[in-house]
């Protein structure tokens, strides 16, 4: 999914580091940088550990005992190409479900003051294997993949205006609620 954002690349990167807490992410409990270095190519590589609440639905409460999940977020910021790549995945619970998301932020080719975010997600659910095995036993010939890849690369050009308006409303709402946090992070104000 490509999302056009009315924000310069530098501001997207700056805001990325400060995005927690925000009114839409009350489930994030902690955020720590555990590695950070400028590499030989001049790129900034970071690795952050996040913990999030993991509240299962009522029917799953007796299965899931731990109420938090740990997330690893790797990122690379390349100031020369003006791109930022993030790669986020969960650790723990990976035998049940593994979710990986890669986002590449880059300057839009259509407009230099816009950023495009290209998002790819992989969802691997091992729990599905047992279910498909039983299905196959009961109904021979049933075929199911062991791994499900979900990927959206559609261009939303026909919905640009709607997305811009929604993003603008969401930003205004977030700004009104998160003003002290924005001030503390000191990103540039548009």
């Amino acid at each position: 999914m490509r999302i056009l954002k009315r924000v310069l690349e530098g501001r997207v990167a700056q805001s990325f580091w400060c995005r927690y807490p925000n009114p839409f992410s009350t489930h994030v409990l902690s955020e720590d940088t555990v590695f950070r270095q400028v590499d030989s190519k001049g790129q900034l590589r970071s690795l952050r550990l996040l913990t999030k609440t993991n509240l299962p639905p009522k029917w799953g409460e007796h299965v899931v005992s731990n109420r938090t999940v740990k997330i690893i977020e790797e990122s690379v910021v390349d100031p020369k190409t003006k791109t930022m790549t993030t790669y986020t995945r969960n650790i723990g619970y990976t035998k049940v479900m593994s979710i990986t998301e890669k986002v590449v932020y880059r300057q839009s080719l259509e407009s230099s003051n816009q950023t495009v975010a290209e998002r790819t997600a992989w969802i691997d659910s091992q729990a599905e294997n047992g279910f498909h095995h039983v299905l196959n036993m009961m109904f021979p010939g049933h075929l199911a993949p062991a791994v499900v890849h979900t990927q959206k690369h559609s261009v939303l050009s026909e919905q640009k205006e709607k997305l811009r308006e929604s993003a603008k409303r969401a930003t205004e709402m977030a700004k009104a609620k998160a003003r002290p946090v924005v001030a503390a992070c000191q990103p540039e104000v548009e």
Partner: protein, 79 residues
């Protein structure tokens, strides 16, 4: 935002403040040296790594760099 342990919150906040300044005023303007916040980062890291050990969070499991490596997941070919 909180650190994984309350004891590290102050060190984290000091480092984050330095980093945000370095990132926007130095790094994005072409400076490659990250010495500006190195001392704060070192103190913060010692605290976080200790906290992770106390909470039985494996540092080896966490410090696995997959982005750019063979382990990185690849997108299926576009149809």
């Amino acid at each position: 935002m909180n650190s994984v342990s309350e004891e590290c919150n102050e060190l984290k906040n000091s480092y984050d403040k330095c980093f945000n300044e370095w990132f926007s005023l130095k790094f994005l303007k072409g400076e490659k040296s990250d010495k500006m916040c190195a001392e704060l980062f070192e103190k913060y890291q010692q605290c976080v790594k200790n906290a992770m050990k106390n909470q039985n969070i494996s540092i080896e499991d966490v410090e696995q760099f997959q982005l750019g490596s063979e382990q990185e997941k690849k997108a299926p070919p576009k149809k």
